[in-house]
């Protein structure tokens, strides 16, 4: 097991390397830079000023040289300084945003699981019931609706028309503390959380239903019933443990989807997370920030896949990695 984890991690290092090289090269190929803006320089500024700024930031060196400098700094835990936010360090910028995105991601995952697993089980226990049909319909809709459109509808109905939830941000007032802050934060996360979790909820629900149906039809469930086990025990002790396996794998692999979805969802709700920071950094050509976020997302995806594999072997002892 440990060997397996180590091997997987080692395999990931070249992938991470490939990702950073690709993103780095692409970012530097872009016309314009953080000082001149997207493509054209401001004609009112002496070109020499730009030249000096570029020289100071090291943007005039060859791409491999710049990459080498960047990667050796990263190896020492230094992601450099933002070129746009007046030289604030990238780690500092990302730290605050990362926490927001993680809260949002976990909250949406929580909603997803709490909604999808019970409904999936119910659908499987009572197939072709009214609720089962409803859930199937919801599943199709949830997968077909673009999450930004759903987010806008949620804002329009629940925030603007009914005024139940705030439409953007994370806190009512900056600098809130304690229970009040927590309440306000949760209140702000309801709409983006549901929006972000919608597609996942639909997917998990469908998987859960078909898995439970599959397991309920298997021989060992018939055996368990035959020896007089109660329905409850059959469901919780035998069925769920097996039906949850694909859900857990799915969760690991969905981390990437969740983070990609967060980029769009955060934009809709103007939520100050990694996604909005990434978008604005890409637009502003703030490479140090773009690179750091790209790398962070890559690592999160790896960890997600790895965790899925590990949980997989805990929940199903038949699976061995060696």
């Amino acid at each position: 097991m440990y060997q397996y984890i180590i091997r997987r991690t080692l395999v990931f290092i070249p992938m991470l390397f490939a990702l950073t090289v690709i993103v780095f090269t692409l970012a530097l190929l872009a016309p314009g830079d953080a000082f001149t803006g997207k493509s054209l320089a401001d004609p009112n500024v002496d070109p020499e000023v730009y030249e000096r700024q570029r020289e100071e930031a090291g943007l005039n060196d060859a791409i491999p040289v710049q990459y080498g400098r960047w990667i050796s700094n990263v190896a020492q835990g230094d992601f450099g300084k933002s070129l746009v936010f007046n030289g604030r360090s990238v780690s500092e910028l990302i730290e605050a945003r990362l926490a927001n995105t993680l809260y949002l991601g976990l909250f949406s995952l929580f909603i997803t699981l709490v909604v999808s697993i019970p409904i999936g089980i119910y659908s499987a226990k009572h197939p072709y019931s009214l609720l089962d049909y409803g859930a199937t319909g919801f599943g199709f809709l949830g997968l077909a609706i673009p999450n930004f459109f759903f987010g806008l509808i949620a804002i329009y109905v629940l925030a603007i028309q009914l005024d139940w939830f705030p439409a953007q941000g994370t806190l009512d007032e900056p600098g809130m503390t304690g229970i009040e802050a927590l309440k306000s934060r949760l209140h702000h996360m309801v709409l983006p959380g549901i929006t972000l979790g919608l597609a996942g909820t639909a997917t998990y629900m469908r998987y859960m239903r078909s898995e439970v149906l599959d397991v309920l039809g298997s021989d060992y469930i018939r055996t368990a019933r035959a020896k007089g086990m109660s329905d409850r025990n059959v469901l919780y002790k035998h069925t769920l443990r097996n039906a949850l396996i694909p859900i857990i794998t799915l969760m690991g692999f969905e981390i990437g989807m969740l983070l990609s979805g967060a980029v769009i969802t955060e934009q809709v709700f103007n939520y100050p997370g990694l996604g909005t920071l990434f978008l604005s950094s890409v637009v502003n050509r703030d490479f140090p920030v773009v690179m750091a976020i790209a790398m962070l997302l890559g690592i999160l995806i790896l960890v997600g896949n790895l965790l899925a594999d590990i949980f997989y072997s805990i929940i199903d002892p038949r699976i061995r990695y060696d």
């Binding site: 990931f12 992938m15 490939a18 990702l19 690709i22 993103v23 692409l26 970012a27 190929l29 872009a30 016309p31 997207k38 493509s39 199709f140 809709l141 997968l143 077909a144 609706i145 673009p146 999450n147 930004f148 459109f149 806008l152 509808i153 804002i155 329009y156 603007i160 078909s210 149906l213 599959d214 990437g256 983070l259 990609s260 980029v263 769009i264 934009q267 809709v268 990434f278 978008l279 890409v282 637009v283 050509r285 773009v290 976020i293 790209a294 997302l297 890559g298 995806i301 790896l302 896949n305």
Partner: protein, 307 residues
Amino acid sequence: MQSTPQHTFSTDPDNQPQDDQLKSRSPFQLAMRRFLRNKLAVISVFVILIIIILSVMAPVFTDQDPEQTDLFKIEEHPSKENILGTNGQGQDNFARLLYGGRVSLIVGFSAMTFTLLIGVVLGSIAGYYGGIIDNIIMRAADIMLMLPFLVLALTIMAIVDRVTIPFFITIIALTTWPSLTRIIRGTYLSLREQEFVLGARAIGASDFRIVFKHFIPNAIGPIVVNATLMMASYIIIESALSFIGFGIPQPTPTWGNMISEAQNVRILRDHPEAWIPPGFAILITVLAINFIGDGLRDAFDPKSSQR
């Protein structure tokens, strides 16, 4: 999806040889028959046809130019002339809705075709030859699958000054090819060991002929199903990227950049007629394509519908 040999008994009424006429049906024809019996899928085909007609024949349904800006008619409410009002640049929303369908469908379809092309070529090479080539292609696919798609796509879109439709399609195809390639390769691996392939090789069929005459027809089920479902996701990806401003830019109308107007609170609050119709257009198109995909899956693999 394997063709059932005629001499075995099958509980599926379609496969039972009742008379000579039935014998001549190919597995593909049988699948199509099953597909046509799926009401939801058939209705969806009609829905897609209607959307195609509306967007292709857009000039028939509106005489407004979707790209024409008019500074004297900004953010107008619906009127006889502008059925869905106008947007922030004074462009007619209804015309943009109709013409926007063209872009969504073209992007979805072309990106799917492009990905399919990459997938069939790479998947065929990897699955047919195996060995080192297979290893190289599949490791490349692994790396692509691990990379966060959006990070890569956004960085590339940010680089170019102006995203054109062909460029957009190329980027989408080049960043999403691995999943289809994997599926095709997987199907080939199981086909490779079967007797009829050995037979074809024994009578001296060329590699090219084996792949095109024996492998692709046998793998057509999973290929068609996955390509269909992929097209739906490409339409969503296009609209999402256009929504955050990294897709196909103004003045070209797309459903995504129409909804993007709603990032302005004034339009979001006061002009739901401007952003709700394109959202529903995406929803209905994607829903219909997904139903068709599911219908095709059930048709090609009757076992899957029992779930």
